[in-house]
């Protein structure tokens, strides 16, 4: 891990990564390699270990065993470097309610020490693309749930990160907002950003992702492009793939 080849080639390399919480194994010997510029979907039901995997990769949790590198930097030894390169959109909306939308976004730009001019430009651009310009100077506590979700996403991306971790970014969004976010994520791919998207919406993964990894009870049980997986399991969609693999529906 951390060698020059990885720094050049792979965005994320995970080797036997394991995380245990007392008697629960949330991530069980996960092996995965995500290339630069790839839009990778981590699929699975609630409690499958998707968020724990992201928390491990962005330095919020210490692995029990195994290793992982982000853009060639070891997540244990070079966590600070990793944090400089990534943007994280948490599953639960985490915004400062007493700040305006713009202040929330600019705060996170400042925390990534962005030059003021670039920060202002990126903020304006992202607010515009997410349809929040008119409400940018309002305090976030007065926003609707969907608006908060969009600000939550912008805060993760304002500093133009190399690698974005988007943890269920469209959960609890209305269909219109969800499609706006999908377009936005597709644009990230066009900019050659690496995106790791967790979702339990199978149609979202099919629509957006180059490759998906299906996880269940902490284990990676399938890996490939949506088309490959559908072909391999002779399934109409990823939901059917999941049922064949686990005998359950994803939202059970």
């Amino acid at each position: 891990m951390g060698n020059e080849e990885n720094k050049k080639e792979a965005a994320i390399v995970i080797g036997n990564l394991t995380k245990r919480f007392e008697d629960v194994t949330a991530v069980d010997a996960l092996n995965l390699r995500i290339e630069r510029g790839e839009l990778f979907g981590l699929l699975g039901p609630n409690g499958a270990g998707k968020t724990t995997t992201i928390n491990l990769l962005c330095g919020l949790l210490e692995p029990t065993s195994g290793s992982a590198s982000v853009s060639g930097y070891d997540i244990r030894k070079e966590a600070h470097k990793v944090k400089e390169l990534i943007g994280v959109c948490p599953q639960a909306t985490a915004v400062f309610p007493y700040l305006t939308g713009r202040q929330n976004v600019e705060l996170f730009g400042d925390l990534h020490t962005m030059p003021k001019e670039k920060l202002r430009k990126n903020t304006d651009d992202l607010l515009e693309r997410m349809g929040l310009v008119a409400d940018a100077e309002r305090r976030v506590k007065k926003y609707s749930g969907g608006m908060r979700r969009r600000i939550n996403l912008i805060m993760a991306l304002v500093h133009d990160p190399e690698i974005a971790f988007l943890d269920e970014p469209t959960v609890a969004m209305d269909p219109q907002s969800r499609h706006a976010v999908w377009d936005f994520i597709s644009d990230l791919k066009k900019q050659n950003k690496t995106v790791i998207l967790t979702t339990h919406y199978m149609e979202e993964a099919e629509e957006l992702c180059d490759r998906v990894g299906i996880v269940d009870r902490g284990k990676l049980i399938a890996l490939g492009s949506p088309e490959q997986l559908k072909q391999q399991f002779s399934a109409k969609n990823l939901e059917e793939v999941f049922i064949q693999l686990t005998g359950r529906r994803i939202r059970e």
């Binding site: 919020l60 700040l99 990534h112 020490t113």
Partner: protein
Amino acid sequence: MSSQRVFALVKKELRKLISEPATLFMIILFPVVLTLAFGVSFGAIGGNQVTTYQIGVVNMDSAGSDRWSQHFIGNLTNMEILNLLIYPDNETAQSDLIQGAIQAVMLIPEDFTESCDSFWIAPTNPSLWINTTVQLSLDSASIFATQAIPPIIQQILGATVFGEKPASVPRPIQIGSPSLVLSSKTTMFDGMAPGIFPFAAIFLIMMVAQSFSEDRQNGLLRRINTTPTTPTEFMTSQVISNMIIATVQLALVFAMAYLVGYRPKGDEASLGLAFLIVSVFSLCNVGFGLITATLAKSPESATGISFIFIMPQMFLGTFVGFALSPSAQVAGKFMPSYYVTDALKSLFLRGAPISSPMILLDLTVVSACSVAVLLAGILLFGKYGKA
């Protein structure tokens, strides 16, 4: 350390202060209203106003020969600190005392003049004196009246009977009488004011505890932790923002106290040192706030738990302290707020110079406590409070 990150987080904290009504009230309005209320209640309005005690006098000295009692009453009337009300009988005076209209009733006995005359006929032979007693009833609801009135009356009675000459055997050394005129110009608020400054700062504990618990509950601490912000940068921003808040608090409380007539002794340097001591003390409260946030599961429980640290500091170390029992006053010496109040008393009340050893000792104790509590808070919160 990145100043951009620290400054951004400080700005966020200060924005919270002005945009959250509850925080604004606790940190700014509460101390301002408290100072105003205390100033009005404890006699500071209008500057160095004289505190006066209402004394009811019932003169039962024999009619026609009451020259000594009239002389005594005249001397009492000359005292700026006393306001005399003459009653025809004891019952009416006692009734007013019970109702709180007056703070004391003084009963001049029938044989007062006779007693004084007998002394002057044979000043060196007590066996020839006619002994008598001036009865004094005091308002037991007023600790200040019970403490202040008897020695004042005793002193005036002495001056009335003996004149300027001492009654006892001549001595080469005399005890100087306290200047009642000067002491009367110190209001109760003057005594309390040095304790109000740390009192206001103590409530930072609640604010810090609530803020950290709320940010933790809303996932904001975790979110900040996904950025390159280091724990040192984060804690530095907390320290700076709370020191700014404490300074603003102190300035507002000072301005409000000044408005209601408080005129502390000391110069600009004393004021500067007072600001420094309270700012340093604010770090201690950040530390207690972090410990509270570590113990609390939610912002609501943080409010309750914060009183574990607020109450002892408030009762044992601020303006409330002077009325406590001796053992409680000893306990107060374990409270950082006690040393802040003590230093401010020396600066503002006694006019001590900033280089005075006791003030420097107070500053040293406050600094040491603040660093220790802050470090304990950071370590405990870092280890057990983030989850």
